[in-house]
Symmetry: C2
Subunit: 453 residues, 2 copies
């Protein structure tokens, strides 16, 4: 089918006011999932999105969960299916006094639109719906099946997502998935993310005497803080390398393609150090070695360690208990359950039977090969709007992506860039550039066109 992609661009260029007004309407809705009590308003937002989808010709409905409803819609037909994930809920706007304009009254300044949720993720949700509508009006019926899956609890950790996905495996089945939008980097290059790290979050706990003791007993009383330090020294070696028995053995080495993609990622460790106010990165890492560590290797991070006296000056006690909270970011080959078992075995083997390992939270890693067709489609769609995308084999963070990518086995990427590196996601004065917004509509329409070929 020959399609007039330039016509798409002209059409969007001629409808900016109307497209923006529709976005603003969504941005005015206070769908703050962290706030309880406005069930009706929340359902109104879900219903508004559902109706917008229905207007495109999709079969659209609200699906109930234990929390806020999911908006689900299907449209089009053919051999191939694309799943689109997004969320209509937003972060709380506080602290309000730091906003230059009302977070729920979208305001345009200097070519950008300011409002809570515009960059995460309402702009992205709206751009995809508008892209679908314009695609159909300008080009014709979708030559593939497109499924929209828009949840209302992403900003509170998607507590009902796993049961929803597991209960609706058939409904959500697809050849590929567009996760919520990505963004543009500092230099304005769109980023395409092909994976997220997994996570095993554990708490190690040690106990000493039944109560804090006078530290005159420091030479003979069991000290749980020292006990944890002794346990931690076996978890990383003196060079800071992870030393949990068998942990690194699980890591599937990155593919040649991953490494090639990594080599193309612009990474400025000096700028990163400056933004953090530090002289050096961990283990004095620099350049590509740092980037590789950041994106492709697992971590053993101490998120918190606490024991004994925390006040000013000197108090002389042997603390009665100690704990350390650790997140292990996992890469392909590592799963949270087996990793926690490795940690337990590792400590037990070294005599730390007394250190309790509490399994607090686990997320699977998600990885879509950088040479998957869906990644190629994303790159070409960016070329279609005159941009060169930077492909990230994985990002350092974790997320529920794995429910789709790993559990359902659907190649999943993050692409589309309403947001940019200065969008202040989750912060006051969240914004998106108008040019990026309109480009995103064109991008998604072009993406649909390429996916359907």
């Amino acid at each position: 089918m020959t399609v007039d992609l330039e016509g798409l661009g002209r059409r969007i260029g001629g409808s900016k006011g109307e497209l923006l007004d529709e976005l603003k309407e969504l941005l005015r809705m206070r769908s703050v999932s962290a706030r309880e009590g406005d069930e009706e308003g929340f359902r109104g937002c879900a219903e508004w999105v559902r109706a917008k989808l229905e207007k495109t010709g999709a079969e659209a409905r609200l699906m109930e969960t234990e929390g806020h409803p999911v908006v689900y819609a299907e449209i089009g037909g053919g051999d191939r299916t694309l799943l689109s994930y997004g969320h209509y809920d937003v972060q709380p706007p506080e602290p309000l006094e730091l906003w230059e304009s009302d977070p729920f009254e979208p305001t345009v300044r200097d070519g950008s639109i300011f409002a809570r949720g515009v960059a995460d993720d309402k702009g992205d949700v709206m751009a995809r719906i508008q892209a679908l509508r314009i695609y159909q009006e300008e080009i014709g019926p979708l030559p593939f099946k497109l499924k929209f899956f828009i949840e209302g609890e992403e900003e509170v950790g998607s507590p009902n997502l796993a049961p929803f996905v597991r209960a609706n495996r058939e409904l959500l089945s697809a050849d590929a998935c567009l996760w919520e939008g990505s963004m543009k980097d500092e230099a304005g290059r769109p980023m395409v993310f092909c994976g997220t790290k997994g996570m095993a979050y554990v708490e190690l706990r040690a106990k000493g005497a039944s109560h804090d003791l006078h530290s005159m007993y420091g030479g003979i009383a069991p000290n749980p803080a020292w006990r944890l330090v002794q346990a931690l020294r076996t978890i990383k070696d003196e060079n800071g390398e992870i030393a949990v028995d068998g942990f690194m053995d699980l890591v599937e080495p990155p593919s040649e393609k991953d490494l090639e993609a990594l080599g193309r990622i612009p990474f400025d460790d000096a700028a990163l150090r400056a933004s953090w106010g530090v002289d050096r990165l961990d283990r004095n890492l620099t350049g590509e070695a740092a980037l590789r560590e950041y994106l492709l290797k697992p971590t053993a991070n101490i998120a918190g360690i606490h024991s004994g006296y925390a006040g000013p000056g000197s108090k002389t006690i042997v603390p009665s208990e100690a704990f350390v909270k650790m997140d292990f970011r996992l890469v392909k080959g590592q799963s949270p359950g087996p990793v926690v078992a490795l940690i337990r075995d590792h400590l037990k083997r070294r005599g730390f039977d007394d250190v309790e390992v509490v399994d607090l939270h686990g997320v699977e890693a998600a990885k879509t090969p950088v040479d998957s067709p869906i990644v190629q489609t994303a790159i070409e769609a960016w070329e279609g709007v005159g941009a060169e995308a930077v492909v990230y084999p994985t990002v350092g963070g974790s997320g529920p992506t794995s429910l789709i990518a790993t559990e359902l086995g659907i190649p999943t990427i993050m692409t589309g860039a309403v947001a940019n590196s200065g969008s202040r996601i989750h912060a006051p004065n969240e914004s998106a550039r108008l040019d990026d917004y309109f480009e995103a509509i064109e991008y998604f329409a072009g993406f649909f066109n390429r996916f359907g070929r």
Copy 2:
């Protein structure tokens, strides 16, 4: 001079009511040094003690400090001088609801007297004054010079003691010093303490980024909690032995006499473990090895370690700062200043230039040889009242004893036992056994008699 020691006992036995009434009068005074505002009442207590000393014939006066006044008195003459240290202030009585009788209305129950300060240290102060009076009445003038030095700020850490001692070196000079009273152990044996450990209290601080980071950067961001763990692993080795360069080399080995004394100390590590609710002591120490560690060896104790997230569940951050508070208990040969310098050098030598070592507090160790004449006098004085004393070469704790013992070079011991192991010092229902109180008067009178020979 032949003296009638049995006469002393008879005299005390015949004056119990009067002696007790005098003690009660002192116990009724609310000299709580941690409480501000009652300057007049406080001075009243000091003046009461001064007047009691004057009545014995001593030249007694109040000496001003930046805080509460010191009661100072001198009596007697001859070649030798004994300094007696004590304090007239007490701990706060709270929580009041746990007292079975008014903490400031001394009450006798089951052969014990209950009141705040009776065991620490007013009973001891009063017993020494009464012993002096009775000695003079029954035996005659003191054949040596006795100096009383009774402060009013011991329970708030003696903040003005060091300047007072340093400004009055001549005044306080003596051949030996009786520090405030000791106590009886679980089996009723009087304990004689010949030393206290010193202390170097430091805080190690590490910094990471200028703000907490998302833990997706866990593989490359400097983590100050890990940094401290890496520093701490050099401070103790994997077996829990102190590994600070040069630290153990400073330790002067205990004398043969110290070890002999140690061998005579009854020590029940099973009872200690039971009271702490633990299965084993640090490094699985037991018996005499544990006792030796407790009394004669230095420590490197973690009193507190804190960094990052402390709340429930999982928060994924790389903390921006971390600190650990450590008290190093020191033994003879080790001084706090040089020890802090050793710790700094040790860390610097291993590349931890970024870990700040803050010197919070230092106390010198104090050690009087167990075969000093003053110890022998204490033992014989106990034999004089039919008791066998247990001599401790050192105790695990630290204190200002070193001002007298180390700075002024005066052999200093703690002896006399108004208190016992169940006296609940610093706690509600503080008490002393009446028999122990009257015995203490007889003990001190006998001690004076022996010291004067």
